[in-house]
């Protein structure tokens, strides 16, 4: 039966283990690399970028220049050799969108988020640390992949003398642009995942936002402001930032990045407000 002694006179003195932002960063780093699905997703993005960087230049490079639709002797038959070697980054952007979603929505679906928020009850520090770990990891790992894809792809194209060089006008900017867009899309996924708390729903939403909605927007007539909406829409803002050849109907590099950053920031802010204020 229960003891009937009065409250013990012992005064418990805990060791104060204070939560720090550095600690939260370390924690998120451990979390990121200790879930298999996250590591596999990162690897898939890496393979997609490097794989396409090799395959597409081979496929295009093996065709005679006349079949590529460009004037014979022109730079890669009218194609942008930089963009050609970085086609994989487009596919990878879908993968990192999903990655951004699962690192946060996975916590909500498994209940891990309760542990995270009891360990750091102010909550926003957890989200900020998660965003930094995600951004840095995507930038470094997929940055390596993007440069690898560029160099291998250009080496393949150079067999026909159609490869580009980093020192060519706008090439380095386009290569770095691809890396930045990957980081931004991963963060957008994180914001949406924090907002929706459901992996499947958030992944479908962001994939639709990246690939389906831009197609639907093409049907918008000019009288409805179609061209402007297309220019400023999330997935279209970086069209010129990731390529050397510029398309006049889309925003320029600087303006495009700025508008893209606003989209990402808004999604992150919505996710942060949701994480901070809603019950878990």
């Amino acid at each position: 039966m229960s003891a009937t002694t009065s409250p013990a006179p012992v005064q418990f003195r805990p060791t104060e283990h204070r939560v720090t932002f550095g600690g939260l960063l370390r924690s998120e780093w451990i979390k990121f690399w200790s879930v298999r699905s996250v590591v596999v997703t990162m690897a898939a993005a890496f393979v997609a970028i490097v794989g396409f960087g090799i395959l597409l230049p081979f496929a295009v490079g093996s065709q005679p220049a006349a079949e590529r639709g460009g004037p014979p002797g022109g730079p890669s038959g009218g194609l942008d050799p930089t963009a050609l070697s970085l086609q994989g980054a487009q596919l990878a952007s879908l993968i990192v969108a999903a990655l951004g979603v699962i690192v946060i929505a996975g916590e909500f679906s498994t209940g891990m988020v309760r542990t995270s928020f009891v360990s750091a009850p102010r909550r926003l520090g957890v989200l900020a640390a998660k965003a930094i770990v995600l951004a840095v990891t995507v930038a470094v790992v997929l940055g390596v992949a993007v440069f690898l894809a560029f160099f291998i792809g250009q080496a393949v194209l150079d067999r026909n003398g159609t490869g580009a060089s980093l020192s060519d006008d706008g090439v380095l900017r386009a290569v770095l642009g691809n890396v930045l867009v990957l980081v931004g899309i991963a963060l957008a996924g994180l914001g949406l995942g924090a907002l929706m708390r459901n992996s499947a729903g958030a992944i479908c939403t962001i994939l639709a936002a990246l690939f389906v909605l831009p197609l639907l927007l093409l049907a918008l007539p000019e009288s409805w402001g179609g061209p402007t909406i297309r220019e400023y829409y999330f997935a279209n803002t970086t069209t010129n930032s990731i390529a050397v050849q510029q398309q006049s109907e889309y925003l320029g590099v600087g303006a495009g990045f700025a508008v893209f950053a606003v989209w990402v920031a808004v999604l992150l802010a919505l996710g942060a407000i949701s994480a901070k204020t809603r019950d878990v």
């Binding site: 012992v10 204070r18 542990t115 360990s119 009850p121």
Partner: protein
């Protein structure tokens, strides 16, 4: 130490907790008792700030938990629902938690050994049994060496050894001067571990008192008597003003007399007694009596004195094994 004042939580149109005030003091085990769905888990989530109270407030060591500078050392919580990523190993889970507050790896090893998870610590938590999951939850709760420990239904899924282990653990934690707050829908479990009780039904406070005074609220029901001299015993009891009825297994239940009165009268009449036991209301019965009408999922037409729901009986069996 936990102080709740006027806590209220509403989900949509459903009131889960209503005007709940109580204090969990250091140095003792405080039981948090109520039927399933009475608001225990909701209250515990509000204590650690996972759910925001609709009204009222709850302080942990004098501050809202959200303002704690060392949250893992302030309160260690095992909540009812799983709070672990199924794809991560137990060890990495604890390491990630420890990292937030710079808790050394040696402490992670320590709690892994303390809860007996050494052999499976490197395996994915998703494959854990309910009992292993509970042990991991307890390891998480103890990681920061907290001054308050809060366990939601900790014996759920534990085997008899585990149940015995956690009972001792909670008493030891209290003896070290920590506040221990443990919820259960098992009155018998509380009788074995808690000194103080906070009882709720339908989200409202029903009792906030010591276990003993809670039991004392329900009066003794009668005295069980066994004797080889059935006729003489019946005469003695009736002569002394009591009523006697056979219980069917050779014993008799006497109402209207105390055990002392029966014993004295039997001695005077030269009747041999083989058993003389006061039938006390169990904590279970006291609870059923007090929470009658506040049972969330009471079956239609079920009276207050009807047997407790099936889970109770199961766990009592488990407990008997544990003893």
């Amino acid at each position: 130490m936990i102080e709740a004042v006027g806590l209220r939580k509403v989900y949509g149109s459903k009131v889960a907790v209503e005007d709940l005030s109580f204090t969990v003091r250091p140095g003792i085990v405080t039981g948090f008792l109520g039927p399933n769905g009475s608001g225990k888990s909701t209250t515990m989530r509000m204590v650690v700030g996972l759910d925001r109270p609709t009204a009222g407030r709850v302080l942990v060591d004098g501050k809202p938990f959200a303002q704690a500078v060392a949250p893992l050392s302030t309160i260690g919580a095992l909540l009812d629902a799983k709070a672990v990523h199924t794809g991560r190993s137990a060890f990495r889970h604890l390491q990630a938690m420890a990292a937030t507050a710079g808790i050394p790896k040696s402490r992670v090893e320590e709690v892994v050994d303390l809860v007996g998870l050494r052999e499976v610590a490197r395996k994915r938590a998703g494959g854990f049994s309910l009992g292993m999951g509970q042990r991991l939850g307890i390891a998480s709760a103890l990681l920061g060496d907290p001054s308050t420990v809060m366990f939601d239904e900790p014996v759920n899924g534990l085997d008899p050894d585990g149940i015995l282990w956690i009972r001792h653990l909670m008493k030891d934690l209290a003896r070290e001067g920590r506040a221990v707050f443990v919820s259960s829908h098992l009155m018998s479990e509380m009788a074995l571990t808690a000194e103080h009780l906070v009882v709720i039904g339908r989200g409202r406070l029903i009792a906030d008192e010591s276990v003993q005074s809670f039991i004392d609220r329900v009066h003794p029901r009668g005295v069980t008597v066994r004797s080889p001299q059935v006729q003489q015993l019946t005469d003695v009891v009736r002569g002394a003003g009591g009523s006697i009825t056979p219980t069917g297994d050779g014993a008799f239940e006497v109402v209207g007399l105390t055990a002392e009165q029966i014993g004295d009268a039997a001695r005077d009449a030269g009747v041999a007694l083989h058993e003389l036991t006061t039938v006390r209301a169990s904590l279970e019965e006291a609870f059923m009596e007090l929470t009658a009408g506040s049972l969330e999922y009471q079956a239609q037409g079920t009276g207050p004195a009807v047997a407790p729901p099936a889970p109770n009986q199961l766990s009592r069996t488990a407990e008997e094994v544990a003893r």
